[in-house]
Structures are given as C-alpha cells and as structure tokens.
C-alpha cells in the first residue's frame, strides 16, 4: 500500500539564523526512516510521467520501489545506470519543473520528493562504498574521444562513453575538474567533496582528466583530432560574465558574480588558510534575479555582510531563480528590492563603491519571453548605500574555442550551432552541449546534452568502421 500522506516528508535544514553565517550545507537530508516513508508515497503509476520529465531519463519509479524496501544500494544503482552525477542532481536540479513537476501525486497535494530521495540514495552509496557492486572498468574498445571541459555536460558525456568502452580524456582549463559545480555553486548548496567523489568515480571507470589545459591556447581542436582522438565533445560552458554597461562598473568593489563566486568556491577565499583574497563587505547589492544572484547574495551574507540586497528589475513573480532558493535567501535575511533597476554605481574619492543609484520600475506589456517587461518610472531614482555591487545578470559562451577552430559556427549570441538530434556541431566529428550551446541554463540540461552527444558520438564512431 502506498503512503497516502498529502505532503512531502519534511527534511531537516540548518536554522536560517545559524546557516546564514556558515558555509556548511543548508539541507541535512533524510534519515533512512524518512527516506523509506517518502519513497512509499510513489503510486508506481502506469505512465510514469516523472521519467519523461527527466533530461537524463532516470528510472524513477524503479529506484523509488527499491528505496521503499530500504534497499538504498539497489536504488542507487538504478539511478547511476543513467545518471553519472546523482549526488549532484539530487541537490541542484530544478525538480519542480522536471520529475516532480510531472508527478501525479502533485495534482492533489505535493509530489513525491524525488530530488531528496535521489540525494539520499547517492549519499548512502557514498557512505557505504563496500556495499556497492564493484564498478567494473569496461573493456576498452580502442577508440579515443576527447572532451573539452569537465563541467556537468562534459562529465556526463565522458561517463557515458567510458561505460561503452571508449578511452576518454577530459581537457579542463582550471586546476580542478567540475566546472560550474566547483566554481559556481556554493558549498552550502553542493559540498565540493561530493563533486570530487563523483569525479573520482569517473576516473575509476578509466576517464582521464587533464587539468590546466586551456583548449584554444595550449592545443587546438584540430591538434587534438590529429592526435588520434576520433571525436571531440565541447562542453566549455558559458563563462563570460556580462556587465550592464552603466557608469561605475570599474570601481573597486564591483564584482561579476562569476568572480565573486569563483573566489569563494573554487579558491576558497572564505577560509583563512587559503591565499586568495575577497572583500569583506558591509552592505552588498546583488543585481539580478537568477540562481546565481541568490548564490552570490547568500555567500555575501555568510562572509559577514551586515546587509545584502537583491536588486531585480521585474517582480518576484518573474524571478528566474528556483522558488526554493528565493525562499532560502529570504529566510536568511536577504532583502529583495524588486522592480528596481540600477542606473549607475557611485564611487568615493578613492574609486571605491559608495552606493548604487536605482530607478523604480513598473510592469508593462509581456515581452518576447512572455514575461511582462519592466518600464522605468520617470524621476524615481534613489541611492542605495552599498560598498559592494555584484553583477549577476548572465553570462555568454567563451569565444576561445570557436575563434581558434575553423568550421565551428556559432549564432549571433556566440552559442555553438548544433544539430538538435545529434548535438553535432557544423564540423565533422565535433559535438557540443551544455551552456556552450544553449547559453546559461541548468546543470541537468547540460547533462542531458552530454548524454545525447555521447550516444551520437558512439553511433558516429561505430558508423566509420
């Protein structure tokens, strides 16, 4: 009999006032008992819409059935057969728009907490490695494939190809694999040790990771192919930060969210024993309304800021960040100044940020994205006192690879053009996916693209024989 409780089994979280000042994980996860109880809420309905909602097609009802029996290892192995990074997805996927968004239990009440359960099973497996069926390193099929970028799409593509026996080398520009999972998403949402362990798992399967390899500079795509790699997957992300183009953006104390978060997450500037510095601010204004803006604001709070604002030009309704992130940020004392748009950053006599001038906005007609577009209210400018401004208004793909590789085409936004069925670029044998193709999107969409590209690469190489 399924558990007919209407709502999700609650999960323990660190208290907002406490967690707002530390970098430890916010959500503490289920206990075994809670996990079994929640897994039992699945009706195992006929059409399993949840699976269709998952970009990497995790066999959700099957893993939930195992979890309901308390067989968490069995559950983990089902998840892991289609998802290379379950501990990551359980934490950062927008389940509300995907699996959980389609769950029939959500029609009357709350959907099954698939995300929390995925996380629980992955964490359980990590804590009990001896219980896992020893992953067999697949027999090599003798074909070499190169993956550029060790972020979500590259890791997924590499993992899927390695499972098929390909010899995969990932070229990573940074000193650490993980991409946005390492430099972008903060420790309190996604502990770095967990990302590290997922990557270790790939290396155990035979995936080779070469760090400090900035492709386009140290090697070109053509040189990689000349070196015996039969196909290349480009998952180089969307790393180039945008600024607004307003006065004062070069003042001391203005950061891109990328820089702010990279200093904190990748370089661990929040820990005293690490050498990378970061500004310890009093009043921080974060411009933008996405998940990255929430991450930056919550990080600033954890670094000890007295006040942190989110400045967003539309209303709460239109905010692209996950509801859960907005909710967590509000609980932690972040102030939301919605319907406000920065007009200039004010500096003091030494070139430091002294304030942010904003103009109030109202919502007009829906724009191309279907969201009501904000219109400035004339004469409503005001100055927000702030010593730090963080721009979290989006990123675009880095041009380095396409500008150094003949035959790879991009659209006017700089996104690589690919065949939607195969993820092949305009160059033979070269595939791409993730933010490099879509512009800034989500971890799971990038993983889905990596998965699709892996299947296409397999077909392409087998087709050549």
């Amino acid at each position: 009999m399924p558990n007919m409780q209407q709502n999700k089994t609650p999960v323990t979280e660190q208290q907002p006032q406490i967690r707002a000042r530390n970098f430890a994980e916010v959500c503490l996860g289920y206990t075994e008992q809670e996990a079994v109880n929640e897994a039992k809420r699945c009706l195992n309905c006929k059409n399993h819409p949840c699976v269709n909602g998952c970009p990497v097609s995790v066999r959700i009802p099957e893993f939930l059935a195992k979890a309901a029996e308390g067989d968490f290892i069995g559950a983990y192995e089902i998840i892991h057969s289609t998802n290379s990074l379950p501990a990551v997805c359980g934490r950062v996927c927008p389940q509300e728009n995907q699996c959980e968004g389609k769950c029939v239990r959500g029609i009357k009440g709350e959907p099954v907490a698939i995300g929390r359960l995925e996380r629980f099973c992955a964490d359980y497996a990590m804590k009990n490695p001896d219980k896992l069926t020893k992953a067999q390193k697949p027999q090599s099929n003798g074909h070499k494939v190169a993956v550029i970028g060790a972020g979500p799409s590259g890791l997924t593509c590499a993992g899927d190809l390695a499972k098929l026996g390909y010899e995969v080398t990932i070229f990573e520009a940074f000193h650490t694999a993980g991409g946005v999972l390492m430099y972008g998403i903060p420790e309190f949402r996604l502990p770095k040790a967990i990302v590290r362990r997922e990557i270790d798992g790939l290396e155990e399967m035979g995936v080779k990771v070469m760090t400090n390899m900035v492709i386009g500079r140290v090697l070109s795509v053509d040189e990689i192919m000349a070196d015996g790699y039969e196909a290349v997957f480009i998952g180089s992300g969307a790393g180039l930060p945008r600024f607004m183009g307003i006065e004062g953006e070069a003042l001391v104390g203005v950061y891109s969210a990328n820089e702010y978060l990279t200093r904190i997450n990748l370089m661990k500037a929040y820990l005293d024993e690490y050498a990378t510095p970061i500004k310890h601010s009093k009043v921080v204004a974060v411009v933008g309304g996405g998940n990255v803006a929430m991450d930056a604001a919550r990080s600033a709070m954890r670094l000890g800021a007295e006040k942190v604002y989110i400045v967003y030009r539309r209303s709460l309704e239109e905010m692209p960040a996950r509801r859960e992130e907005v909710h967590h940020a509000m609980e932690e004392g972040i102030e939301f100044l919605v319907l406000n748009n920065p007009t200039r950053i004010i500096g003091d006599e030494n070139g430091n940020v002294a304030g942010l001038e904003c103009i109030k906005m109202e919502l007009g007609q829906p724009d191309a994205s279907g969201r009501r577009s904000p219109v400035p209210i004339e004469g409503s400018e005001f100055i927000l006192d702030a010593d730090t401004v963080i721009m979290a208004i989006g990123t675009s793909p880095n041009p380095l690879i396409r500008s150094t590789t003949a035959g790879i085409e991009a659209d006017r936004r700089g996104c690589l053009i690919v065949n939607e069925q195969t993820n092949q670029t305009t160059k033979d044998g070269v595939y791409a996916g993730g933010d490099a193709v879509t512009g800034a999107a989500t971890v799971i969409l990038a993983m889905g693209a990596g998965k699709k590209a892996a299947a296409s690469i397999d077909e392409y190489i087998r087709g050549k024989e």
Partner: protein, 278 residues
C-alpha cells in the same frame, strides 16, 4: 606537477625560474602569460612568460617577490614542483610593420621587455632598448638585453649606473634627437607605463603597453581583470594583455590593483612574521 628545472636569483627580490611545461613551451609567444597556483592553498597568479624552450620543454618566468604568493614561490628550489601552471594565456604581441622600435622596460618589467626586444631584433628591426632601475644593485639581464638591441640604454633613478634619470627622460631625448620610431613598447610598473604614454602621445608614436591587472582564472571567466580602453571595458586576460597605451585608463587600473592591498599586507605578515623586504 610542474618541476622547477633551474632557479637563479637575479637580485635581492627578483628570481628567474625555468619550469618544465612541455605543452606550454610548444605554443608560447612573446607577450603571453601563464597562471600558476603554488599548492592547494595558493591563489592563481599571472606571470608573463619571459622565455620558452621547445626542445627542453620548458618556460622561463622572472618575478619579483612583491606579495605572499610570489614570496612563497621564491622559496622553492630546483627540483621542487609547482602544483599548477596553465598557459599560454592572452594574445601574443602583434607587431605592426615596424622598422625601428623603442622597447622600454622598468624594473622586473625588463624580464618581459627582453623577449619583446629579442623577437623584434631577431626579425631585423632596429631596437633601442631602454631599461630603467632604481639603482645599480638591482639591475637584471644587462648582458642579455645588450645582446638583443641595436642600442642599449641603461637608466638608474639615482645615477649609480648608466644614464641618470627616468626612462621617460631618455626616451624623450631619443625622440628629440631624431630617432624615427615607428612604435614604442613599454612594460613595467603602471605609473611608468602611464608616463611613457604621456611622453609619446604628443609625438603621435604608437605605444603598446602590457597590463598586469588582478586576475583569477585568466580565461575570460571572472572579469576581474577588466580595464577601460578607449572608454570600453576590455578583459586583459583574453583581449590583452597588450593594449594601445594612449587609450588605457591607467589611474583606474592603479586603483583596481590596490583592491586587496590591506589583506595582502596581513597575509605577508603571517608568512614572514612581519618582515617585508619589497
């Protein structure tokens, strides 16, 4: 890991290191840089590539111990390793169709002026190399620079060696003396580059500078190295590090470079117990 093949102290605060980095050695060109991270706790520090040797699979860096991370690097010895070295980063210097160039180096900037002069001199360009130092005892690469220049002009602020005065005075003398310069390349402390540009501007001589802003990743990802050039934001790591000096906002660059001055001091004190040489 990247092994230190050779270490040489050029003066009290300047160190040369040859580092094993075969991939970088194959691609490096004058004007490009690397980013190193000493160990797990280290920050990512950009340093311009002073020389490279494809045969030996090595690159050479020359740096001054001006902060915690360079001080820590200077304590390593031959045979030790650096955890991470990424490069070659940035755009290689693009020389126009030039016949006569003045290369101006200031202090440790001479380490970068040297490969520039070498590249130009070896391709048959007439090179006036002006190298400025505070004093005689910190002069570096004198013989090397002499060997790659048509005329070598050593300058010291205190007159203890060579010409008594700043590089800008020497440069102005050359120009006023009839040197028909197609281009000036200036590499050194930001104020020096600023004043070299001020010197050449009235004469309309194109002046290239190599900028050294604060960076994190060096691949265009953080935007921390943004500089204002001709009123527009440029990222020194991917658009530079070379820029048309007459269009650079040097005052802004100096302010931005001082962002972490206080924290750097505290870091140095932890590292050296309060003693600071530089």
């Amino acid at each position: 890991m990247y092994k230190i093949m050779k270490k040489e102290r050029l003066n009290d605060s300047t160190v040369l290191m040859e580092i094993e980095a075969p991939y970088i050695a194959r691609k490096a060109k004058a004007g490009q840089f690397i980013i190193y991270r000493l160990d797990e706790y280290g920050e990512r520090v950009p340093l311009t590539i002073a020389d490279h040797d494809e045969q030996r699979g090595s690159i050479t860096i020359i740096f001054q111990t001006i902060g915690g991370s360079t001080a820590a690097l200077s304590m390593l010895n031959e045979g030790d390793s650096i955890l991470d070295v990424a490069g070659p980063l940035g755009v290689a210097t693009e020389y126009g169709d030039v016949k006569h160039v003045a290369v101006v180096g200031g202090g440790v900037g001479c380490a970068i002026a040297y490969p520039q002069a070498k590249t130009l001199f070896e391709s048959g360009v007439e090179v006036d190399l002006i190298a400025g130092f505070r004093s005689k005892d910190i002069v570096i690469l004198e013989n090397e620079m002499k060997a790659v220049s048509t005329r070598f002009h050593l300058c010291t602020d205190d007159g203890t060696a060579g010409y008594h005065g700043f590089v800008t005075n020497k440069l102005k003398e050359l120009i006023d003396g009839g040197a028909d310069l197609d281009e000036v390349i200036a590499i050194g402390p930001v104020p020096m580059m600023k004043f070299v540009c001020k010197t050449t501007e009235p004469y309309g001589i194109k002046t290239l500078v190599s900028l050294n802003p604060i960076m994190v990743d060096g691949t265009g990802m953080c935007g921390g190295c943004r500089v204002t050039v001709d009123g527009k934001i440029k990222y020194a790591c991917v658009d530079g590090p070379d820029f048309d000096g007459h269009k650079v906002d040097f005052d802004e660059l100096m302010r931005r470079n001082a962002t972490y001055k206080e924290q750097e001091k505290a870091h140095m004190c932890r590292l050296t117990g309060g003693v600071r040489n530089a």
